[in-house]
């Protein structure tokens, strides 16, 4: 999956942003949480653009026959689904324009976990969910699709009975920071982050 991501990044001339996400010494992460259902949903009408927000799980993935713009997003989806994670995606026909993943322990028989739980000290309780790895295809950035995707997903999670959603954003990732702030997430104390490929560490900022 990482090798595919590397080659796709080279092809798209996006190698530096990918390396920025894989190797860093001094970045800051801000863990966040929000009560569900959200009080100010910001979902634009997707149907007028022939788009819809769908839930993706291991059970319906094969049937949906989704088309991904990048192979590494498809491989990531397979990897996440095999771990019991689910996603919401905005699709046009069967083309995936953006997705956001989530993990919960309530709806599954086994206790699901995620590597971020240890980093951010998250202990998911009943009816709580952790959201991560939101992605919108480059052509749809700057169209408010990210807001509709995230806001709509939080709304659907609330409808599913979840009462709290957790997540995080990197303080230097301005689009992610903005998205979480306009949706009114509560922010916890910043953490200093270090990463070298698959090894990640977090430390409280004094």
């Amino acid at each position: 999956m990482r090798i595919v991501q590397f080659f796709e990044a080279c092809k798209e001339k996006r190698l530096l942003p990918i390396l920025h996400e894989l190797i860093y010494l001094r970045r800051e992460a801000i863990p966040v949480e929000i009560d569900l259902p959200i009080s100010k949903p910001r979902v634009e009408s997707l149907t007028k653009y022939n788009m819809e927000l769908i839930n993706i799980s291991w059970n319906n993935f094969e049937k949906l026959q989704l088309k991904y713009h990048f192979k590494n997003r498809y491989l990531k989806a397979l990897n996440y689904l095999s771990k019991g994670y689910e996603a919401f995606a905005i699709v046009k026909g069967n083309e995936v324009l953006g997705d956001v993943w989530y993990v919960s322990s309530t709806k599954s028989k086994q206790k699901l976990t995620h590597p971020d739980f240890k980093l951010f000290g998250i202990d998911l309780g009943e009816n709580e969910v952790y959201t991560f790895d939101m992605y919108v295809i480059p052509e749809k950035r700057g169209t408010s699709l990210a807001v509709s995707l995230f806001s709509g997903s939080l709304q659907k999670l609330g409808e599913k009975g979840f009462l709290k959603a957790y997540g995080y954003f990197m303080a230097d990732n301005i689009p992610a920071l903005w998205l979480h702030r306009i949706l009114e997430f509560n922010e916890s104390k910043k953490l200093k982050m270090q990463r070298f490929l698959f090894i990640r560490r977090s430390k409280m900022v004094n």
Partner: protein, 81 residues
């Protein structure tokens, strides 16, 4: 051109870019209307920092500071004095 005018011109040209929209009022909402979305905020920050020689740190990037031209202008004033 004062700072409000120059912010207005930037928003009209770079963020809205719709020939049907020729003017913006100082108190027109910029966030609910989707004018400042996640990509728009990046463009706007780059413009403000370069044009007015200031640095806006992440604690200042909150909806209250960018909800209208008036709010952005107030943020600028507070940064300069």
């Amino acid at each position: 051109m004062n700072s409000k005018e120059s912010i207005k011109e930037f928003i009209l040209l770079e963020l809205i870019n719709d020939p049907n929209i020729k003017n913006l009022e100082d108190r027109d909402p910029l966030i609910e209307t989707g004018i400042i979305d996640s990509l728009g905020i990046m463009k706007l920050l780059a413009f403000l920092e370069e044009t007015f020689s200031i640095h806006i740190h992440d604690g200042e990037i909150i909806p209250e500071n960018f909800e209208s031209i008036e709010a952005i202008s107030l943020l600028l004033q507070n940064k300069r004095f």
